[in-house]
Each structure stands twice: as structure tokens, then as C-alpha cells.
Amino acid sequence: MSATTHHTIVNLPDQSTAELPKRNYLNNEHGLLSWLLTGDHKRIGILYLISITFFFFLGGAFAGLIRLELLTPQPDLVASDTYNKFFTMHGLIMIFLFLVPSVPATIGNFLIPIMIGAKDLAFPKINLLSWYLYLGGALFTLIALVQGGVDTGWTFTTPLSTHYLNTHVITAATGVFIVGFSSIFTGLNFIVTIHRMRAPGMTWFRMPLFVWSNYAASILMVLGTPVLAITIVLVALERTLGIGVFDPTKGGDPLLFQHLFWFYSHPAVYIMILPGMGVISEVISTFSRKRVFGYTAVAFSSVAIALFGFFVWAHHMFIMGVSNYSALVFSLLTMLVAVPSAIKVFNWAFTLQKGSITFETPMLYAFAFIGLFTIGGLTGVFLGSLGMDIHLTETYFIVAHFHYVMVGGMLMAFLAGIHFWWPKMTGRMYPESVSKLSAVVSFIGFNLTFMPQFILGYLGMPRRYHAYPAEYQVLNVLSTAGATVLGVGFLMPLIYLAWSLKYGAIAGNNPWQATGLEWQIQSPPLTENFIEVPIVDHEAYDYEWLEHKTANEVTTVG
């Protein structure tokens, strides 16, 4: 049977007869305690989803205040140190409390065990512990905020953070330290689960690419985060006891801090983006009804990104007095990371070629991802080249670059994933037309916000200032207007997804006719995921297998 003869695309069960499964992970146990003490990876995923959504909108509020201040050239909304606190809190919250856990801890937690045919992650209690650590770290961050904020920037750069600031650096740093352990435990759990818990027949090269990309991200979490932890301990000691390890007056080297910090924080951007790339692979394949082109290349490119990601950190320090030779090497290595990223983009494009493409909401978000991530990635190559970097670094070009990757890339991927797996998580469909509208609104709003910032940066507007020359105002007004549109685009899903929990159409097991193991079980799944251990005898994304399976399936109603 040829791969092009697909007729049913979205296969919702008959609405008059379909009903939610009587027993599932949501109604298996009741009461608040059954959630707070759960070991079920699906429930922990939902707990994470609720928490990171809260912090996303908190961080977003700070972004809104930043854009409001930048509406006019004069510093008229807040004082300069308040502005510093705004962008610091925006960065801290968005990076450590939203982006790092976004896809792995929510969608990954929910799906990785199901995708590989396991009943749970290897260490359910450690999984729950990681959520509590996240909450503990978040609490410290909130305490720092309530006490009056912190204004180091999210990077805690020394000697600014250790010698010159009077704000709540230690409190915020403690928060980051604790959240770091939450991330380590998630990564550790994923690696052990993927190595040891796969169902019979689920070989490494039969795993969905989402699992591969989370595996790569987990390696980065496990190897990188401890270095951040010790760096933060050293900053705290330097600040409280004056130990001198980063203090030039005592022989210490502030650049050492930069090396240690970026040794984690550069791989951290791959922790943030890799799971998103996994989501995109799943979505693109499902809505083109084709196996992902170059499956092996895409799988290995995730690992390659993780590997190369550890050897590029000094490109954050080109203007900080590192030696020319090391700058040259790090510039070259930075260019090399672009290769596996490009492999992914090209393979997604070839997956689309001659596929039976439909444009459901997750697919729209995925398209947004591909375009915006490519822009973000290519401007990263600009910044990786030494000459350009000296002109562009510390300007709005940098800001635009990483927002294209992190918001245009990761956030779009996160929303693609949330829409794609919403039927599986809740058993109900989101409203399709309004969600398509929200995808388009976010896309337009995003470009309106950040495209002008590329130009601003190229023209020389420095980042982290709350006042600017009057000739930059037009572009800044455009950017602030875009931020408003973007805000609407992000608020819409919050509303209609909440609405769909009660009023959404009942989804059925496999509304997208996707091939992953998670789509072959009921939605929402049982607490133990599978009634019996699945035996995997087909490749990932095998649509012919799915067709035969559905053809031979006996449908029972009631």
C-alpha cells in the first residue's frame, strides 16, 4: 500500500458515543494529597505544567514592564536600578523557572516512559523530589523579589554581584542553586529510564526522536548543572566571606567566574532548545504522515549538539580579554554547532516534502519554530564570528538573537507540544479555530517585537539600559506594540485550554493518527500506562504499521 493513500486525517470518535475512559490517571485517586504525594510521572508532569505556567506569566509581566519603559527614550517609568531589577527578574524566572524545565519536566515527564513502553520513570520518588526542589528554588526567587529584587542580571557577573550591589543576591542565588538540583534529578531520571526501562523490542533506533532529544538534553543537565552549583556557591562565599577567588585585589580572576558560569550556561541553552526540537520532529512527522527523513541523522544530531555544546562557552567572552587564539578556536567550534542544528532543519524540510500535510495548530506552531529558529540560529553564526561579535555583542542584536531561539524556537515548540499532546493529557480536544488564531497572533506579535531589535542592535543600541537616543524610538515603539500582540497570543491558549478541560470535544485514543506508543493507549492514560507490556516490532513513525493496525482493530463502543 503506498504511503500517499491516506484519506482520514483527523479521526475524532463519534461525539454521540465517545466518552472518557472510566478509569484514568486523573480520577484514579482523589484529593489534594493524592497529587502532592504522587509518584505518577504523569501527575508530576501536570504539577510541573501548572507551576511553570505561573512563572511564565510572572516573567512575562516583567517583560511587559521592560517594554513599557522602553516605549519612550526618556527614563520615565521607573528608576534605573528598578529597571535593572526588572530585566534580572525577567531573566532569572524565564530561564531557570520556565525554559529549563519547560518541555522536559512537563511533556517529557508525561511522555518519555509511555513512549518507550515503561510504567513510570526509574525513580518516581526522586521525580517528585525534583518538583519540590523546583518549588523550593522558586520560593527563594520569590522571596528575593518580595524583599526588593536583585539587579545582577541573570548571569550573576562578578565583581558586580560580589562587590558592588546591595540587593538580595544570595537569596536569588540560593534559589538558582536549588532549582539546579531539580534539573539534575530530572536529567538523571530520564537517562536511567531510557537506558534501563525500554519495552521489549524498543531498540535505541526505534525510539521516537522526542526521546532522543530529551536524552541529549539530560546529558547536558547532568554534566553541566553541578558546575553552575559550585560556581554559585563560590559567588556566595565571595560575597559573604570575601574569599577572593574571583576578586582581582586578592589575586583572584573574575574571568574564572565567566568560564565556570558559561561552562554551564552555554550548554543550558541546548538544555532549553533540544527537547523543543524533539517536539518538532514528532509534530512534523505526524502532520505530514511520513517517517522523519534521515531519522538516524536527526537522532545523532541531538547528541552532537549536546557534545559540541560543551566546547563553545568562551564565545560569550570574546570581548572580555581571552587570548586571541582561544577566541579563534571557540569561534570555529561555535560555527560547528550550527552543523547539527542545520541537519535537523533540513531533515524536517525533507520530511515535509511529498508528505500529506495538514495545518492543525501544532503544525502551525512547528512551522513558526522552523522559521524563527532558523533566523535565531543563523544570527548566532553572525555572533560566533569574531569581527561581527565585537560590533554586535552587548547590543539589542544579542537580545533579538536569543529571543528568536528561546521564544521563537523553544516557546513555540512548547506550545506545539502542549497542543499536540493536550488530547492525550486531558482526553479532550482544544478548540481548533481559536487556537489557530492564537498561533498566528503569536507569530506576528513575535516578529513585530524582535525583528526591530535586530535593527536596533545593528545600529548600536546597547542592551540593559532604560534610556536611549530619540532616533531609536520608532523601532522601540514597534517592538513594544509587538510585545502587546505577543502577550495576547500567549494569553489566548491559557484561556481556551482551561475552557477545553470542561467543554472540549472528547478526543479518543488517537485523534491525529500518530504512530507513537502513547497514541495506542487510552486518553487520558491509565495510572500504570499499559495494561500489558507492549512489544515493539516496528520502527518509529511507521505509518503503514499504523494503517494495518487500525484496519484489523475491532472497535467496541460503550
Binding site: A118, K119, D120, A122, F123, P124, I126, I184, L188, N189, I191, V192, T193, H195, R196, M197, V222, L223, G224, T225, P226, V227, A229, I230, T231, L234, L237, L241, G242, I243, G244, V245, K250, G251, G252, D253, L256, H259, L260, E528, V533
Partner: protein, 253 residues
């Protein structure tokens, strides 16, 4: 616990062959899988610990290269004898831990408890010697901070026999850098001692459980995994001792 049926393993042997131990958890297919997952997880955790200590080793490497004379002079102020004794104590502790793992595997309950108690005693002995060393640093004003004193490095005391200073005097500028050495000394050995204190806490818990016979029926994963942790802490010391105490004690002096 999920072990209601597990207390009668033989009745269910045909259907539930893998539910032989009360500690077997539902989501693992077999005990073998559970045990492997546990020890793999422990190894990964140790990997994160290596990266954690790695940050400090990196700082040590950098400053040792920059301020080698200061590091050598400061290193000479450490108490090599106590450090060496501590190394032996810690290896002994690790030895009894290894015997403890063996005792658990051959299901000898009393022996296991004895070995774990010996491990604990040697652990405390290590911390005691360490505390004495810290006290010595306090008396010699070698604790970084306001009371830190560099006089000893700028004007070394005269050796009564030779009439010469017992080491080469340093410029005050370089002598100031000894503070960095002592900071790294306290940070690294302190972090190591912190790991030992955590380990000793866990040891008490394990001894209590071992005494109840929990590890004498074939379920040895906690003992094995703790053993890995304890040996890791040993190995960190085996790197710290030469790097901090023995910098200048090589034949090419």
C-alpha cells in the same frame, strides 16, 4: 508498600516469579532491572559530583599555575603527618565498607552491622583529625579573611640549626596569594568533609536498617549504592591529599 503479596513469594512463584523481594517496585519488570537502574543512577549521580568538585579543581589548577611560589609555601604549612594519617584512616574506612558490601551479599547480618559500624568509626576518626588540623590553621592565622596573616611568608622564621630562614622569603604581593591557597584548601577539604558528614548520617540509618535484617535476604542495593558513594568520597580525598599537601615534596626540589 506495594508488597502485600510479596511476603509469600513461593505461593505465587508461577505467576509472579519476579515478585520475590518485598522491596521490588511495581514499575520495574524484574529485580535485576531495578538493581541495575539503581546502580546506574548512582553512577550518574557520582558523575554530577565529579563535575561539582571539578569547578574547584579547575580554580586550583589556574591559581596554582599563576601563583606557584605562594602555593608551594602555603602547602608547606599544612600538617603532612596528620594528612597522611587521615589518608590511611579513610582507606581503612573504605576497606570496611567494601567488606560490608560483601557481608550483605553473602547475607551475614551480624558481620554487615559490624563492618558498617567500623566504617562509621573510621569516618568519625577522619573528621576528628580534620578538626584538629582546622584548629591548627586557626591558631596560625591561616584562615582566609580579616585575621589572615602573611608575616610568616614574608619573613620566614629563622631555623635554629642552620641560621637560615626555613624557606625562601616572598614579596608581600606574592605572599598575599597564599590566602587563595588556603581558601581553596578550606573549600575543597570542607566540601569533602561535608560529603563525609552526609555519608555518616546515611550510615547511621543503614546500620539501623541492617540491624533489623533488611539487607540480609538478598536485597543489597542500598548497601551497594552507598558503598559507591563512600568510595567516591575516599577517591576525592586521594586527589586532594597530594594536590594540597605534597606539592613541593618531589625529588627535583
Amino acid at each position: 508498600m506495594d508488597n502485600a503479596i510479596a511476603t509469600h513469594p513461593h505461593e505465587h512463584a508461577e505467576h509472579h516469579e519476579h515478585v520475590a523481594l518485598p522491596q521490588h517496585r511495581h514499575h520495574f519488570e524484574t529485580e535485576q532491572q531495578q538493581r541495575e537502574a539503581g546502580s546506574f543512577g548512582m553512577w550518574l549521580f557520582l558523575l554530577t559530583e565529579i563535575m561539582f568538585f571539578g569547578g574547584m579543581f579547575f580554580a586550583y589548577l589556574l591559581y596554582r599555575n599563576w601563583y606557584n611560589p605562594a602555593f608551594v609555601a602555603a602547602s608547606n604549612q599544612l600538617n603532612v603527618k596528620e594528612g597522611a594519617i587521615n589518608t590511611v584512616i579513610l582507606i581503612a574506612s573504605g576497606f570496611f565498607m567494601a567488606l560490608g558490601v560483601w557481608a550483605a551479599e553473602v547475607r551475614k547480618q551480624k558481620l554487615l552491622v559490624i563492618f558498617l559500624v567500623l566504617t562509621t568509626i573510621f569516618g568519625f576518626a577522619f573528621l576528628g583529625v580534620k578538626a584538629d588540623e582546622y584548629h591548627e590553621k586557626y591558631e596560625k592565622h591561616h584562615i582566609p579573611g580579616a585575621s589572615f596573616d602573611i608575616r610568616e611568608f614574608v619573613n620566614p622564621p629563622i631555623d635554629a640549626k642552620t641560621g637560615q630562614p626555613d624557606q625562601k622569603p616572598m614579596s608581600p604581593d606574592m605572599a598575599q596569594k597564599t590566602q587563595l591557597f588556603f581558601f581553596l584548601y578550606f573549600a575543597m577539604t570542607g566540601m569533602h568533609a561535608f560529603h563525609m558528614i552526609l555519608g555518616l548520617g546515611i550510615l547511621f540509618w543503614l546500620i539501623w536498617r541492617a540491624n533489623r535484617g533488611e539487607f540480609s535476604a538478598g536485597y543489597v542495593a542500598p548497601i551497594e549504592n552507598f558503598g559507591l558513594y563512600w568510595h567516591f568520597v575516599d577517591i576525592v580525598w586521594l586527589f586532594l591529599f597530594p594536590l594540597l599537601y605534597l606539592i613541593n615534596r618531589h625529588p627535583l626540589k
